[in-house]
Symmetry: C2
Subunit: 193 residues, 2 copies
DNA sequence: AAAATCACTTGATCTGGATCAATGTTTTTA
DNA sequence: TAAAAACATTGATCCAGATCAAGTGATTTT
């Protein structure tokens, strides 16, 4: 269950066997069926989840009932509504599984305790957050400075795995464009080649 | 010089006098005149800078010569091209001063050493990065899901200080809209009231 | 295995915000 | 303190991408 988990962590910081055993105690495994919610709008996000298997997404619903996909997480990624998780305020987002998933979850209390007890995990998260900032920055710039077609190309290049795993209408939503526009972009790109 | 700096840090973690003295040794002060560059496109971003005074911005220049403002930093904020700073790759961005500024700067080597030597600073940055992720997420959602007018309102509400300090055409650029559109939005909003 | 829902495509039309252009205003620089 | 540069506003026009509408497979549900 913790195989992928420690592989990922040990890529950034090296934990001793003792540290690994301690870290394990903070996490609870959970299985999620396709379409099952991990978090629903209005609830407080109680868990930060590591995805061992499957795919999660987070999204919100606007005034007109339109869904906007905010994030996704494949194997090896983390998922939560960071704001709600850290502040304890109710979330504006939903998180559910796009594919059956296996998660390792930690509560905020567990997380904070672990930061104190296992300094190397604080390092791990500092580094993880650094990298997260870099990729959010990339997405932000994409979203502000590029055309719909360029956004799609940049995403497809930086995350080719996604295209296999996530339905196109969700990719469109993630890019902030409509499925119709994405369909036309893909048609256009395939004709070019 | 370090007054605001330690005020900010001590809001998140409490440093002892000894820790403060050690932390100081990693930082170099620097003054920047209005319009002076801290970083130019093509250079590696060698410093992470804390803004003691003044205002910085980062921006890039697109193929058509258009400038896109990516970030700004007022007093108490940090500024760098995170990606270039951490990876050592040349930056695609420029950073300069919008107002005369006083900075405290640290190199990557200094930063990494400080993370090891002063664990409480690693905690500080872990928390800083957490919060940074939350605000980037907010901006991202704004940019994907809201109209130009809503984006402006959200920014004005979450960062009222900005409106006083930063010229409107840069605010427009930060929001990913044109100055003309921003001008019309502001006219429209002022007529409403 | 029929019905319902979901995913994707294609076409026609509409629109928010961009672009182009001109003018006024404020700030900087020499 | 005059000239130049930067900033902001307003108007006219244009277009990338949204919206609306309809149709075709896939996949899920019963």
């Amino acid at each position: 269950m913790f195989k992928l988990f420690f592989t990922h962590i040990n890529q950034k910081v090296s934990l001793t066997a003792a540290e690994q055993n301690e870290v394990k105690t903070y996490f609870t495994p959970k299985k999620l069926r396709r379409k099952q919610y991990l978090l629903q709008e209005g609830e407080v996000c109680r868990y930060l989840a590591f995805v061992e298997k499957g795919v999660l997404r987070s999204y919100n619903v606007d005034a007109k009932g339109g869904e906007h996909m905010i994030h996704f997480a494949l194997e090896g990624w983390w998922m939560a509504d960071t704001y709600s998780f850290l502040s304890g305020e109710p979330s504006n987002y939903n998180i559910d599984a796009i594919e059956d998933a296996e998660l390792l979850m930690i509560t905020l209390e567990g997380f904070e305790q672990m930061m104190v007890q296992v300094p190397r995990m604080e390092r791990y998260f500092r580094i993880l957050f650094q990298n997260n900032i870099i990729s959010k920055e990339r997405r932000l710039i994409s979203s502000i400075s590029y055309s719909a077609e360029e956004k799609y190309i940049r995403l497809a290049e930086s995350n080719p795995q996604l295209m296999q795993r996530i339905p196109l209408h969700l990719i469109a939503s993630y890019l902030g464009i409509t499925p119709e526009t994405l369909s036309r972009i893909r048609k256009h790109l395939s004709q070019k080649k």
